[in-house]
């Protein structure tokens, strides 16, 4: 019976071309699965513990009862065939390092997010190939610290981040040739579009002349850019507003870009 179920799980994953592999279905894995289900994103769970497998099955999730640290299990699950990310959620950092290393070895380009239970292991997880490392107790401590300092601000901003309010934060990509490519912030008219511009993420060295710049990995984040700030190809606008207003403007940028391409 188990084999049959496994076979059908693999068969289902073979049909998909964009899904996420969650390794471990403990407390953290369950929260992630619930969020992805809400987003209607495809995912598969791999867990070697029977209790986790039964729970995932009861919830109707695609689940493989196996050890995710084995190459064959990850390969059959589709790490090179449709999976876009691997999430290591174990409460044991030794297991997470091993699964991270296995996944990175099998797929050099895949996104790997791993949980670190001990601060001392964060570096090891990055060395093993993790793209991002999450420390539950560090983030929880940050939440406690921010809450007691500015409870109103914190709850308001958290509501937006968690998309619990009708106003959300989103990003808009500036395509080359789109109508906003080369436009100033004043010219774009965010207010008329019922959007609020928080800032611009840019790797463009020309933007270096503007103030309010914060280093962000290989790019810079320009907070509250001035009206004469010119956006260009590859910049990412970080805005706040109703979801439909963000989507509508994104569609306009896209549509306009396609027309621009057609004219060339």
């Amino acid at each position: 019976m188990d084999e049959l179920r496994e076979h059908s799980a693999y068969a289902e994953l073979n049909r998909l071309d964009d899904f996420i592999i969650i390794c471990g279905f403990g407390r953290v894995g369950q929260h992630i699965a619930a969020q992805l289900e809400k987003d209607q994103l495809h995912f598969a769970i791999i867990d070697s513990r029977e209790a986790g497998v039964l729970k995932a099955r009861r919830l109707g999730y695609v689940v493989i009862h196996a050890d995710a640290s084995k190459n064959s299990v990850m390969q059959e699950a589709g790490i090179n065939n449709g999976a876009r990310a691997v999430i290591c959620t174990a409460g044991d950092d030794v297991v997470n390092v091993y699964i991270t290393l296995t996944s990175r070895h099998l797929n050099p380009d895949i996104k790997i997010i791993s949980r670190a239970n001990n601060q001392g292991n964060v570096k090891k997880l990055y060395q093993a190939g993790a793209s991002n490392v999450i420390q539950p107790f560090e983030i929880a401590a940050m939440v406690a610290a921010e809450y007691i300092g500015q409870p109103v601000a914190f709850e308001a901003i958290l509501g937006i981040i968690h998309e619990q309010s009708h106003i959300i934060m989103g990003t808009l990509y500036v395509y080359s040739g789109s109508f906003i490519d080369g436009m100033t912030i004043a010219g774009i008219g965010f207010e008329q579009r019922k959007l609020m511009l928080i800032g611009v993420i840019s790797a463009n060295a020309m933007q270096g002349k503007y103030k309010n710049s914060y280093p962000l990995q290989n790019q810079h984040f320009y907070f509250n850019p001035e009206p004469h700030f010119v956006v260009g190809d590859g910049d990412l606008l970080v805005v706040m507003g109703r979801e439909y207003a963000i989507d509508y403007f994104r569609d306009q940028i896209e549509e306009n870009r396609l027309k621009g391409v057609g004219r060339r």
Partner: protein
Amino acid sequence: MKRIAVFGYSTLSLEAMSRLNQQQYSFVFIGKNDAEAALIAEQGFDAKVIDFRNDDELRAIGVGADIDILFCFFPRDFDNVFLTISARAIDKNITIVASVDDPESAEKLLAAGADKIIDPYEICGRKTHEILTRPEITNILDDTVFGRHDLNMAQFEVPEGSCLETTKISDLKLNEKHNLILIGVVEGALNGQLHFAIGEKEHRLKAGDILVVIGPARSIKSFKREVEQCGD
């Protein structure tokens, strides 16, 4: 300076204490035994051993007197529930932040009188989901607002008689005048209605409203000064 009592020897306790600015907060760590207290004292924090089940011992460390905030970070939920109920009975104004292990305990902690529940597993799950689905926004907020850069979030209460009273949200133009982004305005206390600064029905400010903003520390400081002085 606010005084915080931290109960429970855990990573969460240590992380929270090291994250908070020691110029704004003073801490007393409460261990269950000498070994726990010694480990925390080694990190430079004041540490004591008491039996948290005894109200007199809670009072002796300052609950009901100079302790403003309680972190109930015991690993076991029932210890946190008992501590929350005891502290709330002693001081109805104390701020209680409690961690949970089992999500089902959250409601019990709220019923016991906790103000904020911290579920590290839920937070970790959410964070992973955010990194997966909205990496750019997560990176910005982590590196700036929640990180150690100079970009912060802040809240300002509109004082009685302030020049801000009766001002329309749309007329504030904090981004142009103060280099601050106004997220919105919360009417009154923590659970008051949040009016977003964008695309919402117009709201006129009144005393007690709280402005929620993001901006560089220096801009926040100068706007705070202006808000405090403008009614004089």
